[in-house]
Symmetry: D2
Subunit: 341 residues, 4 copies
């Protein structure tokens, strides 16, 4: 049986804090569809953390959260620009197009998952033409797919570019995929820059942070909030028992557990990177370690019982999580060392 310790940060169990909050919330009757007190409390904690006046909803999956957000920012004959290796482009089975009835996705280059601002400018240059979907939104990811982190300044810079596009029409909408936002924050990213920088819709990932399945959709542009509950209901994302999706955020936010766990995951990645005999494909800034490894070696790693994915850019990915132990890192490092003596 393969070990999934480093396969993905979603292979880990939920944290004790998240589970305790779930149990604590599981008391008595509650009104449905997000109108309960648990969900209100979780939303407050998220607003406080982000220092943002926003509507907050809780949904079941990151794919749904991102797709609902993009559908709110784009009409079918419009397109989203994102990093060419963004999760919404490479790993969600075309969900944005499904939720957005064919909305387009335009991939931009950039080192280690960060969009190159020059590439963004180029994508936004030139007039609309009738035979191409017009750009309507920018999607960012922080931490990125490759574990790198946009600084607050970089994020605000890209957002400003987006808002400046066809400014008389209101500019692009901006979506931030925060599946690993806690990891970015633990690495120094100032999350209050999100609202200040003009992001319109943010997804704060619960799952990869160590919660049971849940993601927070943060509606920073309140004009987008109108009928959002109907939008979610129609998308199958307005849970009747919403407290089960919101409670884990209470457990993770009210005493800082989320950041503490994320910092641990980042530290484990740094430890793995330091012990890594294979060349790094990307700088290790959060909880992922990407290395160059040929296919026969990867097969031998699998044969040795460790599961790891070859990723979009061809590198092999090892993800750490709140549950990763130093012992497991050292055990993996030893195996890797044996594969590349």
């Amino acid at each position: 049986m393969a070990r999934y310790d480093f396969a993905s940060d979603n292979a880990a169990p939920a944290t004790p804090e998240a589970m305790a909050a779930l149990s604590a919330a599981n008391v008595g009757y509650a009104s449905g569809y997000g109108t309960d007190a648990v969900s209100a409390r979780a939303a407050d904690l998220i607003r406080a953390w982000l220092d943002a006046d926003a509507e907050v909803r809780f949904v079941a999956s990151g794919t749904a959260a991102n797709s609902v957000a993009l559908a709110a920012l784009c009409r079918p004959f419009e397109a989203v620009v994102a990093h060419e290796h963004a999760h919404i482009i490479t790993d969600e089975a075309g969900a944005p197009g499904f939720f957005g009835q064919g909305l387009g996705l335009i991939g931009l280059p950039g080192a280690s998952g960060r969009i190159d601002p020059t590439a963004l400018d180029a994508a936004l240059a030139g007039p609309d033409v009738s035979y191409r979907q017009g750009v309507a939104a920018l999607s960012l990811t922080n931490a990125t797919e490759y574990g790198s982190v946009y600084s607050a300044g970089e994020l605000c810079g890209l957002t400003a570019q987006a808002k400046g596009f066809q400014a008389k029409e209101g500019g692009l909408g901006v979506h931030l995929d925060g599946a690993r936002l806690f990891n970015a924050a633990a690495a120094g990213f100032d999350v209050t820059a999100i609202a200040k920088g003009g992001v319109d819709l943010l997804v704060v990932g619960g799952t990869k942070a160590g919660m049971p399945p849940t993601e927070a959709v943060v509606i920073l542009d309140r004009a987008l909030a109108r009928r959002f509950d109907i939008r979610l209901k129609q998308s199958g994302q307005l849970p009747s028992k919403a407290r089960f999706f919101s409670a884990p955020f209470i457990g993770m936010l009210e005493d800082g557990a989320a950041l503490r766990h994320a910092a641990h995951a980042n530290a484990m990645a740094a430890r793995l990177a330091a012990a890594q005999p294979f060349p790094l494909a990307h700088p290790v800034e959060t909880n992922g370690v990407f290395v160059h490894m040929d296919e026969p070696t990867l097969k031998r790693l699998h044969a040795a019982g460790w599961f790891a994915y070859r990723f979009t850019d061809g590198s092999v990915r090892f993800m750490c999580s709140w549950a990763t132990t130093e012992a497991a890192v050292d055990e993996l490092a030893a195996t890797l060392g044996a594969l590349r003596p």
Copy 2:
């Protein structure tokens, strides 16, 4: 603060058995997207309970489960026939049309939520015409929205009608919304009739049965299973941490807790019906009690602190759940008695 005890069966907390299974599953790493051992075990238990050879998936909401199922049975220029008060028609914000890109919903009459077989025949009579969506699927609900129960014979009869329509083209697909299937089973419905009768896609509700958010999608027609995981992923319904959706079914099925709790809910509804001073709008066969009550009286009930919905047919609904106590039933009955002396 209003009491939600009888507002809906999804207002209750999760059962101890479901929560215990959740905790038990929250150990160690697991492979993602439903490939884990917990999900396999839960699927086995569901297959055994239904006596059916089927693929089983676990998703986050009933709206999504039903809509994904209908989209699998209907193309956009086709339609589903269902009871005119079915949840998919009245309460899901058009989700089937969203998932199915405009697929049609045709409502049929029938007493207390059960489709009248004559009305089904009438709906299927006549040739296809180019300006109307062609009927492609039948959607049944058991127990129905009004708490009534199709017997195995009735369900098989309707299914046979559906399969006989344009039989050389394969007949209609049949979907069964089992949001309250455990309540129907506790009331005597033989669930092994589902597979035998020819249902193609079944949704077994977890939420209303006393689980955290989860629904099982049971793919009885295995030809529909091809690429179903991609379908779910694109719909935002292939959870990475699937064990959190499947584990509760283990807790509820392995020692009969689900049926035991459903029988309790049904008994509480019978108790409330017996003590009910308002005239019943429907026979009480499972866990819901529907009564005739005018609007001023409903307002006074709300003012007395009890939340209850006026339903699609104009009656007022009281739902019992696994958590409903005899004391609460008696307390509500006393309040109702005071409202209608």
Copy 3:
């Protein structure tokens, strides 16, 4: 071989004026996708006729024109209110839901195809709820499906109701299906009321007026015009050789042929109504005659070689067109007289 003279106004050939304009436009090269001089001239004539500052596009079918318009006014989790027998509800195979990814259609009652203002008020009463699509648009038809005509005052009254709904959010969008707008105009409807009354999107029917397949989409709310060409292109409705769709409008508008032909069609319907032995189901205000006729009699009419449809409300419909002759009316009347001596 059945006679289709009265089956529908789209059974007639195109008028000489439309065909002559088509031939006149078929000279030399032209730029594509509606940027040609012929399309510009046709748009000018339509603006002048309507006394409206609007963008105008030409598309191939009324179904597409209506559906594109509704998709521009409604998001998938919103709904359109229309007369319950409106073409968009009963005769377009769910096209609005297809183009609008499941947008809802809510049918309202009203005599002879005109929406009852009280019913509109009732439909707009009450708050949004998460499980029902929120109303976002009103769709009107003039002349209606049953040939009745809204006066300018009636149309403006309904539009004002729509604009007053949730006024702080901008009210409802208003769509006018003008498949038979020329017939309404010939019956006295003041078309300049359309822009003045606040209609946002108008479809002016070419086909039923006696043109080859073409419909004009008139974008009265210019904010909706942004990226409309991309919307049309993606919908398969931005013709490369647009002059073939626009030229017929030149032939029909520049010397009043459209109104002249519509007046003739209306007069033929009046003649048929006067000679009609069957009881009228609706007042005859434009070019359709609807009568009460039982099924055996309709079968005998078919057997006598005349095709006619039984309509949504159960009546049997006879449509007159620009090509209908007095002789044909008299011949049909004689046949009908023999069927009901």
Copy 4:
């Protein structure tokens, strides 16, 4: 005013034969929605030309025809493989995704618009994974976007590869975009190979061949024909006055006009290629000439009054049509000669 002679083959007027057939069809009443005698005759001629037993429908635009076809072959969570510069990928504003609710498009490389068979094999290698849309259809174009022609053998080879993929599941569906099929046929392509080779859905272009707006959808796999009229109606592509879309095919097919005109267009392209001072970007096999030209030179060409597009691959395109004259070719060649002395 710019000259559009070579901007696109859809800039030309309709041929005399097509217009004569249109006028001839414009007589008397006709039943609607493609059930008329003119459409039946046109379908017969297309079947005879292709030597194929197929259903034939007539629609208004190539974008719609292609998109409806792809939606018939692919579900939203599936994808189409096509040449990376195919019209469906680069020039239709995401229409396939709109009609197909987010179906995916995967671009393959290959010289001059022809798919490289090795690239097709590579795209089909490997198992389905849940986070990527599964390949369900192959889309070919003949003549290609760059004017090159697949031989019958090449087309059958690619089709066989497609049918061999997951063969026990039925293989891929195959769509052929024949926007310029007459040009390919005039260049020697044997059109009877289409049906024999296993193409499932073919679009025969009318517009670029010199007809008024019309395209024939040829349903070679009759299993796909079920409810196709409803599909078309819902897509806004079932014209009530179908004879206006079908008649031009009669004029163009019954005496060989289509091929004669296509041969002329091809000959004009050969003449232009021979006189061309700029280096050719692709072999000239049909009616398009693609050359390498820098931007300042293209601007000077525009300034000299000739409109030409820079194409997806960076080359500049000149299209010839049935209406192109030798004099115009020589005049353009002289201008080009002056620009590159």
